[in-house]
């Protein structure tokens, strides 16, 4: 039995709330299905940061529920300490400036 959209939204909120770093992505951290998702996974892996990666395209309704909730149309979507920080470009830019390390250190301390 598949989830209703209400159940999907509840599980999305739950993932965001319970994980310091959460990535909604195409595919899984072990098998990303898109270059942008792979880049984000790679950045967190190299930082040695524990994160949870959720496949948002396994069920096509899932990404619509997610995007409606976050007002962010694309994947991946990265959350740190319960807040959306953005997609691949922002994560890459924040990594380059050192902002990402600061934010994650704050969130995981």
């Amino acid at each position: 039995m598949s989830l209703t959209e209400e159940q999907m939204l509840a599980s999305i909120k739950d993932v965001i709330e319970k994980n310091k770093v959460a990535v909604f992505m195409k595919g899984t951290p072990a098998q990303p299905k898109c270059g942008f998702s792979a880049t984000v996974v790679d950045i967190f892996k190299k930082m040695g940061v524990p994160f949870v990666g959720v496949d948002a395209i396994e069920d096509p309704r899932f990404r619509h529920v997610l995007s409606a909730h976050t007002s962010w149309p694309t994947l991946p979507q990265v959350f740190v300490a319960g807040k959306l920080i953005g997609g691949c470009d922002i994560v890459r830019e924040m990594k380059a400036t050192g902002e990402l390390d600061t934010l994650v250190a704050e969130a995981t301390k």
Binding site: H64, S71, P73, L84, G86, G87, D89, I90
Partner: protein
């Protein structure tokens, strides 16, 4: 497949005074990169800056449309 000139003009309309460059990354017209320098970005975080661009292209992107499949964004503040 999106029309690059239209994408550019949608962003310019949403952010008057912005300097906008649109590039087709693959030649397929659906993986685009935009570089936007806009005065409206002053004081905003990256998230809010990118959201302004997504809002301008709302009708070209998921869930409204699949015209733009992937969008790389680079923003900066343009001095007025």
């Amino acid at each position: 497949m999106a029309d690059l000139a239209e994408v550019r003009s949608l962003i310019e309309q949403a952010l008057p005074g912005a300097q906008v460059t649109v590039t087709d990354l693959t030649g397929g017209g659906d993986h685009l990169a935009v570089v936007v320098a806009a005065p409206q970005f002053a004081g905003l975080g990256l998230l809010a800056q990118h959201q302004l661009i997504y809002a301008a292209l709302k009708h070209k992107m998921i869930p409204a449309s699949q015209e733009i499949h992937a969008l790389q964004i680079k923003t900066s503040v343009r001095e007025r």
